[in-house]
Amino acid sequence: MLANIDRHTNVGIDPNYEVDNFNIYIDDFIHDYLLWLLAAGWTPGQSIPETTAFKALKYFEEEVLFEPGAPHAGEGPTPRARTEAGPRLTDIVALHLTSATSAALGRKLQGVAMPEAVIPPLLRLAVESLLVEWLPDSSLYTGLVLTGFGAGQALPALYSFRFLPAFGGLLKSRRYAPRRPRPNTDPVIFHSYAQDQLIRGFVYGALPGYELTLRLVTMDYLTRTFDAVVQTIGETNKKLAQQVSDQLADVAREATALGLNTAREQRSSEVFETLWPALDSANADVLSSHALKLMELTVLEHELLAEPSVARPIWVLAMERGRFYWLKDGVRA
């Protein structure tokens, strides 16, 4: 249903807005391809060997068209599920694909020529990617979580989707986290998805943006320092410089990740040692009360910063098998 928004809704999306969305999608698609190009050995700024371009395309094709994870013995990789194309999608692709691809490649490669032979299969993969259940890693997503009890189900299920702005009658979406609680072993699912920076900050002890800045600045400083050390050694002993360079190759990235991950684990352990038992056997009333508190973290931040985009009332839907009710700012509506 999500993948065929036009068939189920009449939202009247502005055609110019659709073209913008399509261009952004292609930009993100190309960005992901360039990541594979880097993984295949390309150095930014240098010319791209044709063999490297095709090697990256092969990796990218596998990522886009097939489910991740190891196939079972004796089987090939599992093709991703796909949606159906409509004529509006064909129109927008035929009109804008090549210009969007050129613009994205031009902006990112900045004067480096792409081997011409790889362009047609890359365009083809871009078109194919539109139908399969895949989104570029580089995209900015928004999310939607659906949860509830199926017919005759004793336990609820949760489906978390990520999706991009619509174009050509298509809403690119991907199931992100289908989850179902398991008694005894995994009775609680704690899942935040939108407006959740403060929730993540509460759980992990730091906001995602704070962590990113810390990671990038620390890595940059370490990398520059290591480069200077290697250069100094190289002035007298090139072989030793290469050995030191190899030893330090992953240190900047791993050191920052180690520090952040350890701090995260420490904080989340503290949080869940207290929170988990409270949620473990909670009924819908208790769970909805906790959900309200978590959303209040975000609302309070917006109120303090005078940003009206997120504000009260906070609506919470409480569900138990066979019944549900709404709460408005904690009061049954």
Binding site: G45, G74, S102, L105, G106, M114, I119, P178, V203
Partner: protein
């Protein structure tokens, strides 16, 4: 090498490549991550010409697009509610575990 070994080796290779790409997301050159538009429009040669040094612009016909889309429809299963199988759920649930406590 038997077929099982081949499949395992293939899976390992894909996992290594995926890890390498994810790693590079964090350590990317600013040339790649910087998405600010550059003044490409001011240059005299068309963008597609500078990208590949060819004399004609890239083109894709409507028929070609239709053919590619039809190919995917033929080779890939249609996404349905019943396609949300336990196997697919397990895969994505594991990925989610690292992000959600």
């Amino acid at each position: 090498m038997n077929r099982t070994d081949t499949v395992t080796a293939e899976a390992n290779r894909r996992a290594d490549a995926a890890l390498a790409a994810r790693t590079l997301v964090e350590g990317l050159s600013r040339d790649i991550t910087d998405r600010a538009p550059v003044a490409i429009a001011r240059r005299s040669r068309p963008l597609w010409a500078r990208l590949t040094r060819r004399s004609d612009p890239f083109t894709v016909s409507r028929a070609q697009v239709d053919q590619w889309l039809a190919g995917i429809e033929a080779r890939h299963p249609l996404l349905t509610v019943t396609a949300q199988t336990a196997g697919a759920s397990r895969l994505t649930a594991r990925a989610q575990d690292s992000q959600v406590a």
